[in-house]
């Protein structure tokens, strides 16, 4: 994969009226956790554009419950890092008004399951304004959502609500899987004139990776993270790592899996998926979200329409079950893991 900078890294500008020390922006390759990579991306976006403002609960002094916005209040001040009252609809709704006035708001929804009070503003306003006004009003809003399970959390803290948003026209939806993409895609999301739902796999926040300042491929492009010839395995978010591990394990049995990190869930980069399926003839899609009405079904339907004659077997979904997110002691049964993914691979290979 070639790394084409979309935007040149900006030089540090002096933010007037602020006495806090100015940390050096990312100018060289660093090893960062995913959480810190998002933090660096936010910082760079705020340095680049004074219209970027952050809104969310506990994002100021605390730096967010996951510390993703750490130190940004000290650097940019309370006019740009806004600790809001506890009202998700208002976080999104006021972001709409700020966008109306030319701002580029980045909203933090504290946990996946807390997005629903803001759902109406996202679906009825954020997603529709550009269409409604025939292009006159743009909504360059980024909505950051820590998502997914695997951390032993309480109810409403482990959900995967992405399909509600991929079903909504007017939104772009992305999910990152590693520190580099976390950095590159948060910057691309903020720079986008379309609203972007940015899903962060919370169980990978602490995983470190190398991050270069260049932004790489456009966010709507899927990436083949591991080439293979027998099976195409689609994943996004936290499950990309699981999918890679599964591919490694399958090697031992002589099965070559091509792992694709979708990155963009809306739009889906079908060009990359189609090319892969035409090569392998077999497709497995995995996500933590429930199966029915999920992204996997949509992708499989589309690939079946477009690549029917190339398919060697019926595509398979390896997903969370159609249950509300279960209690923590049951989540290991609900979440797709390496073995369930390999079981899905066996099914498309006709081995069971």
């Amino acid at each position: 994969m070639t790394m084409t900078p979309l935007m040149t890294p900006a030089t540090v500008s002096t933010v007037p009226g602020l006495n806090a020390p100015q940390p050096t922006p990312l100018s060289e390759t660093k090893t960062l956790t995913m959480g810190k990579a998002i933090n660096e991306g936010l910082r760079q976006a705020m340095l680049d554009d004074p219209k970027v403002v952050l809104l969310g609960e506990d994002i100021g002094a605390l730096g967010g419950v996951f510390r993703v916005t750490s130190d940004l209040l000290a650097q940019f001040g309370a006019r740009r890092v806004i600790d809001t009252p506890l009202a998700e609809s208002a976080i999104i709704g006021t972001a709409v008004g700020l966008a109306y006035r030319g701002y580029r708001p980045v909203c933090e929804i504290q946990f996946d399951g807390f997005i629903f009070p803001g759902f109406d503003q996202i679906v009825s306003q954020v997603a529709k304004f550009h269409y409604r006004t025939q292009g006159a009003v743009r909504m360059p809003i980024t909505i950051r959502v820590p998502f997914g399970g695997g951390i032993g959390a309480a109810e409403h803290h482990s959900e995967s609500p992405e399909a509600y948003f991929t079903h909504t026209s007017g939104l772009r939806v992305i999910a990152v899987s590693n520190a580099q993409d976390a950095y590159s895609l948060i910057r691309q999301a903020i720079a986008s004139d379309d609203p972007v739902l940015y899903f962060e796999p919370k169980r990978r926040y602490h995983v470190k990776g190398e991050v270069v300042p260049e932004l790489g491929l456009p966010m709507e492009q899927a990436v083949i993270v591991r080439p293979g010839t027998d099976v195409t395995l689609l994943a996004y978010g936290a499950l990309v790592t699981t999918a890679r591990d599964a591919a490694l394990a399958a090697d031992d049995e002589g099965i070559s899996i091509e792992v694709i990190d979708l990155r963009s869930l809306s739009p889906v980069d079908y060009a990359v998926v189609e090319a892969s399926v035409r090569k392998t003839g077999r497709l497995v899609v995995t996500h933590e979200a429930a199966q029915s009405g999920g992204l996997g079904g949509e992708i499989i339907a589309t690939i079946t329409e477009r690549c029917f004659s190339f398919l060697e077997s019926a595509p398979v979904r390896v997903t969370g079950f159609d249950v509300p997110y279960p209690p923590a002691k049951l989540e290991s049964h609900h979440l797709p893991d390496l073995d369930r993914i390999l079981d899905g691979v066996d099914r498309v290979m006709g081995r069971r």
Binding site: S89, R101, V137, R138
Partner: protein, 370 residues
């Protein structure tokens, strides 16, 4: 200045007599006969536009229309108090406000004919287009005001909503945010007594204006059919917002003399005596009485005002009927700011499908078969 247990503020009686009130009079000192006549003219014209739009709906030219009959003073008085750099976030009934903002009458009905989801570019008139989700726009106004605050300008956001909207979470959240950040926003509630068929008592157990102080927002309860009181209150609230005083809540007590929309039938739920009673409080009638006593109403003025109203109605009718239907493939336009592969594919497929019905296509097919 603003009292936290507001009594109804009225500066113009039903009989058309000016009621002096020290704390408000200074805000309307400049409203001389000519200025009042200009407000009256606006009110006559928007009532005529409204009536014409209702007629156009009955004749099948509009799919729906939300009449503002009876709410002219609330809308004209507040809209004319604004500066051009203030920004309006309306609901869907503020057609008189749009008129004051200079929106073309044809553009006002574009939405209701079904030709577009919004009739104008908000930035050309500093007024957002109709918001149909009840109360959602109050948050947009608050956010816009936060932006104005960050830009260090003294422009103010004003948002219009009804009594029904005050039950919505968004309106309450907007008041929390506006108070916490002392945002320069005016909450202008037209309490028209009815949310479709639900009387205001279903929404509010006591006066709506009483609620705002609980959020830390001073409120005013004014006679919304009194254009002088509306002007005074709005100017007061705008000034407060402009000078760093934060948000103000205005409850303009008015009456929806017509149906909720043309799809509604208020005779199913409303006592005719109530309508008759409110007709005596008609906002145009009382201003006409005041202007008559001031000697501003002459046969010439009446004729000129009627001519203005008729011209607006004629322009609306011609513009509405003459409006071209949108192009079929424009259904795909502006979903995103940049091309989207999935959508482009659907557009191309549908374009091909439409072409398959064209005469040229049929001829080509026949030639192919022959």
């Amino acid at each position: 200045m603003i009292d936290f247990s507001p009594q109804l503020v009225q500066l113009l009686s039903i009989d058309g007599e000016r009621i002096p009130r020290g704390d408000f009079d200074s805000w309307v000192e400049d409203l001389d006969g000519a200025a009042l006549l200009a407000l009256y003219r606006d009110m006559v014209v928007v009532r005529r536009i409204d009536t014409e739009a209702t007629a156009l709906q009955r004749q099948g030219e509009l799919g729906l229309w939300p009449p503002l009959l009876g709410q002219e003073a609330a809308q004209i008085g507040s809209a004319r108090a604004l500066r051009s750099d203030d920004f309006i976030f309306p609901s869907y009934r503020e057609n008189a406000v749009a008129y004051c903002r200079g929106v073309n009458v044809t553009d006002i009905v574009k939405v209701w004919r079904g030709n577009a989801l919004s009739g104008w570019d908000p930035y050309t008139v500093n007024m957002a287009t109709p918001a149909i989700i009840i109360g959602a726009q109050t948050l947009h106004a608050t956010g816009w005001a936060l932006g104005a605050q960050r830009d260090d300008v003294d422009s103010v956001a004003i948002t219009y909503f009804g009594d029904g909207a005050t039950s919505e979470g968004d309106v309450n959240e907007a008041m929390v945010f506006a108070a916490s950040f002392q945002a320069p926003v005016v909450f202008f509630c037209q309490n028209n007594q009815w949310a479709i068929s639900e009387p205001v008592g279903v929404q509010a157990h006591r006066n709506i204006a009483d609620r705002a102080p609980g959020f830390g927002i001073p409120s005013l309860r004014i006679d919304g059919n009194d254009v002088i009181a509306v002007t005074a209150a709005t100017r007061m609230a705008l000034d407060r917002a402009r000078t760093g005083g934060g948000p103000t809540f205005i409850e303009a007590v008015t009456y929806r003399m017509g149906p909720h929309t043309t799809a509604d039938d208020p005779t199913r739920y409303r006592d005719p005596a109530e309508l008759a009673e409110w007709k005596t409080r008609d906002p145009l009638l009382r201003l006409h009485r005041l202007l008559t006593s001031l000697g501003e109403i002459t046969p010439e003025v009446e004729a000129a005002t009627a001519a203005l109203a008729d011209a607006a109605a004629a322009e609306l009718r011609a513009g509405c009927i003459g409006m071209p239907d949108p192009e079929p493939l424009s259904v795909f336009d502006h979903v995103y700011t940049t091309p989207n592969a999935t959508l482009e594919r659907q557009r191309a497929d549908y374009a091909g499908y439409l072409t398959s019905f064209s005469a040229e296509h049929d001829i080509a097919e026949q030639n192919g078969k022959a």
